[in-house]
Structure formats: structure tokens, C-alpha cells
């Protein structure tokens, strides 16, 4: 018996030793011209999702500019925070980048929930990877044809309408509550797990109103499956220019957009950030990228790292204000 356990210990030790030896081979990355090795772009959502698509379109072009592959790595979980937590804990050498959306950058923390990182203290913002508006849409057969009519229906009977969002605490939920609060009316909130089942239920007429992402909604509107009332962005969407903004519908100053930031761990050298920022901006000026952006409803957004940080500040002020006004933080 003791003989066996001895063998086990010895062999276990050997396994560890082998692992140790193998590790010694690592060459210390030399601080040459950036980039000198492949760059990992961490996406906090599964492959195929809208964030992943944006990341892949841009990574593809940045690979060409930087001369090193920019590889998308999916670390999905907890509204994108799992991926950003990984980036925050990585070396600030510019080889681990993250795509941080509204949720991971602002909302999760503003709702009073733990994210696993302190965004301002642990991450640097390099640039904005495009912005996207939401569409307030309704099922076929609703009597209201404009946003004011929709609001009037809800004002007449608080139980008349239900609206769906892609989850509690998501931009769609908050943007709609914000609008309802401004209008002083009520609708029954029905949360879904993401945009897909929500779209299904608006098309099927099971829920009355929904905040949907632009490209998918534009196609459904074009096919006559749903009715669009307004877009949440400050400007009209190029995908559906005939649809007014919420602000035009009588809610001055209303704005709610989705976006993604390119982030690096805090302490990334300025020249590395500059190189990344340049590559990101170049990508957002490329004709092929712009074509893909247009069909995805994305507006290119060119910024310096400093401007992108300011952009985040402005957005945070806006969303935190909404959350505070609604009093829904935990």
C-alpha cells in the first residue's frame, strides 16, 4: 500500500516537474516595435452576436494595418463583464485588448452590481468601435401609427400595452423606462433573454412594443412584419431614414445609443495606444468596412484615445442619470 502511494507521489511530482521544465522555454517578449506578436481581441459575447460581428469586421482590417494578426477571442458571460474582467487583469502591453459595450462599461456597475473590475482604475479607453441606435417598434395591428399616438394609448389605459426588452438592466429596458418616465405613462415590462426571442414575440404579436436593434428591425419593417415608431439615437438611422427620432416625437434631448469601446489594461504605453487608435480609425474609414457597418446599422466613430475617454464620460453621465431618475439601482 505504501509502495503504491509512493509511486503516486513520485509520478505526480514528475508531472509537475515536466510542466515546470516545459515552461522554462518561454522567451521574454522583447520590447521592440509594436506589434511584434499576434494581438488578442477579447469579446465578452459568444461568436456570431452583434458585438462579435463588429469586432471581427474591425479586427480583420486592423490586422492589415498593424501587420500582425488581431485574433478575436470569445470569453462570454455576465453581460460582457467576464471578458472585460479578463482584459483588466492582463498585462498592459497592448497584446490583450477588449471590446467593452454599454453594459460592461457603465450599466452593470451603475446598477450597483459587481463587475470584477473598476473600469476607470483598471482600463484605458483607446477608441470607439461604432455606434448603433435602437428602434421602438410595435406589432402589426396596433392602432397607433406614431410615437405620440402610442404614448396616448398608454396614457389612456396603463394596462393597454406591454413592451419587451432584451433583459433587465439592458440599454433597451432602461431607454424605454426613461421614455415612459418622461412621458408619464405606464406599460407592462416583459423581459426576454436577448434580442432574438423578443423579435420572435413581436412578430408573433405576443408582445405589443419592443426596443430592437436597428438592422434586424429595419428588415422586418421593410417586410411588413412590424411597425417602427421612432429611433432612439439623436439622428435618424440611415437604414430607415423615414422613421423620426424620439426627440422629434416630442422628447427634446432624448438620446440612447449602443456602442463598443476598444479598451486596454490600465497603464498601456501611450505610443502603443496611439498605434491601436490609428489602426482602429483607419479601419472605420475603409470602404469595405463602411459597407459592412452600413448594413449592420453602425455609424463609424473616429476618436483619439482622449476623445474616446470623454465620450465614455458623457455616456456615463447620461445613463447614470437615467438609472438614478428611475431609481432602479440595487
Amino acid at each position: 500500500m505504501s509502495n503504491t502511494s509512493n509511486t503516486i507521489t513520485r509520478r505526480a511530482l514528475a508531472a509537475v516537474a515536466m510542466a515546470g521544465l516545459a515552461t522554462l522555454n518561454v522567451g521574454a517578449a522583447s520590447a521592440q516595435e509594436f506589434p511584434s506578436q499576434p494581438i488578442t481581441l477579447v469579446v465578452g459575447f459568444p461568436p456570431g452576436g452583434s458585438t462579435d460581428v463588429v469586432a471581427r469586421i474591425l479586427a480583420e482590417h486592423m490586422t492589415g494595418t498593424l501587420g500582425q494578426p488581431v485574433v478575436v477571442e470569445n470569453r462570454p458571460g455576465a453581460g460582457g463583464t467576464v471578458g472585460i474582467a479578463h482584459v483588466a487583469a492582463s498585462d498592459p502591453d497592448g497584446y490583450t485588448l477588449g471590446v467593452s459595450g454599454v453594459g460592461a462599461s457603465i450599466l452593470v456597475a451603475a446598477m450597483g452590481r459587481d463587475t470584477g473590475y473598476d473600469f476607470d482604475a483598471e482600463l484605458d479607453v483607446v477608441g470607439v468601435m461604432g455606434t448603433l441606435g435602437l428602434v421602438i417598434a410595435g406589432r402589426n395591428g396596433l392602432e397607433a401609427t406614431t410615437l405620440p399616438e402610442l404614448i396616448a394609448t398608454a396614457a389612456a389605459d396603463p394596462e393597454a400595452l406591454s413592451y419587451g426588452s432584451s433583459g433587465v438592466g439592458t440599454p433597451g429596458h432602461l431607454a424605454m423606462e426613461y421614455l415612459l418616465d418622461e412621458a408619464g405613462v405606464e406599460m407592462l415590462h416583459i423581459p426576454y433573454q436577448g434580442n432574438t426571442p423578443l423579435m420572435n414575440d413581436v412578430l408573433g404579436g405576443h408582445v405589443d412594443v419592443a426596443l430592437l436593434t436597428t438592422p434586424g428591425a429595419a428588415e422586418q419593417v421593410r417586410a411588413g412584419g412590424i411597425v417602427a415608431y421612432a429611433v432612439s439615437s439623436p439622428e435618424r438611422s440611415p437604414l430607415m431614414p423615414e422613421i423620426p427620432t424620439v426627440a422629434e416625437g416630442g422628447f427634446d434631448g432624448y438620446s440612447a445609443t449602443l456602442w463598443n469601446l476598444l479598451v486596454t489594461p490600465e497603464g498601456t504605453p501611450d505610443d502603443v495606444q496611439a498605434a491601436l487608435s490609428e489602426a482602429l480609425n483607419a479601419a472605420q474609414q475603409d470602404a469595405t468596412v463602411l459597407e459592412a457597418f452600413a448594413s449592420a446599422g453602425l455609424a463609424p466613430t473616429l476618436t483619439s484615445p482622449a476623445e474616446a475617454t470623454q465620450f465614455l464620460e458623457d455616456e456615463r453621465a447620461l445613463w447614470s442619470g437615467v438609472i438614478e431618475q428611475l431609481g432602479i439601482a440595487e
Binding site: T4, T7, I8, R11, A12, A14, A15, V16, M18, A19, G20, A22, T23, N25, V26, P38, T40, P69, V71, E73
Partner: protein, 145 residues
């Protein structure tokens, strides 16, 4: 370690899972059948699980029977997977493959050094070719914490 009545023990583990889940679920808002809160399903489910597990415990206690457990492969394989997780996080993919293969082979008393080493080398080479070269995954081959 010998467990006289494994069936009883396993049902006991399930009952403990059920009770713990029940206690935790009491902390969530229960709501009502009309408007169920987040606690509704967990409370009902863990309650049912506990009842079923207890009934299984009783039935096992009435009909005791020894069931053999292969502790050696059991511990070796679990250690191998745990070892992979730790090594992958700290030292990268290749060392993790050596650890998982090395510890797995402890399942059998006489596996032998050489085959274990050959397996580790072949598997990690294959994984390197497949995941890093062909699929272009970015996980580090070697790392240092």
C-alpha cells in the same frame, strides 16, 4: 475508505444539495403563483428534490447492498482535470497537457513511464497543431504567472 451503503450516501448527498438550495432560495423573493418571483421555482424544485432524495434514502436504508467504487481512477481522473485547470491558468496549454495526461495515467498502478510520456508528447503536439496552428486559437502555449 469503504462505504457500506453507497446508494444511501449518494441519496444523502442529493438531499444535502436539496436542503442547501432550499435554504438559499428562501433568500430570494418568492412572489405568488400569479406573479412568481425569482425564488418561486428554486424553492419548489429544491423542496421536491429534498423529498425525493429522502424517500430514496429510506428505500436504500431498507435494502442495503455494497457497491464497489474504484477510488483510484476516481481520484486520479478528478485530480487530472483539476490539475489541467490550474496549470492552464498559470503555465499555458502545453504544460497543462502534460499534467492532465500524467495524472490520468495514475489511474492504473502499472501504467509505466514511457507510455505516459509518449502519450503526453503526442497529444500536446496534436493539440498544438490543431488548436494553435490550424484553428488559430490564441491561448498561450507556455506562460509564467
Amino acid at each position: 475508505m469503504h462505504l457500506a451503503n453507497l446508494r444511501f450516501t449518494v441519496a444523502g448527498i442529493l438531499a444535502v444539495i436539496g436542503i442547501s438550495a432550499f435554504v438559499i432560495a428562501l433568500g430570494y423573493e418568492f412572489g405568488s403563483a400569479r406573479r412568481m418571483g425569482p425564488g418561486y421555482f428554486p424553492v419548489v424544485l429544491s423542496g421536491i428534490l429534498t423529498l425525493l432524495a429522502v424517500s430514496e434514502m429510506i428505500s436504500a436504508a431498507m435494502k442495503p447492498g455494497a457497491i464497489a467504487v474504484d477510488w483510484r481512477p476516481f481520484m486520479a481522473i478528478l485530480a487530472a482535470v483539476a490539475g489541467f485547470a490550474v496549470t492552464m491558468a498559470l503555465f499555458g496549454m502545453i504544460p497543462a497537457f502534460f499534467v492532465v495526461i500524467g495524472l490520468s495515467t495514475l489511474s492504473e498502478p502499472r501504467f509505466g513511464w514511457v507510455p505516459a510520456l509518449i502519450l503526453a508528447v503526442v497529444t500536446s503536439t496534436g493539440a498544438w497543431l490543431l488548436f494553435s496552428r490550424f484553428l488559430g486559437m490564441t491561448m498561450p502555449l507556455f506562460d509564467w504567472p
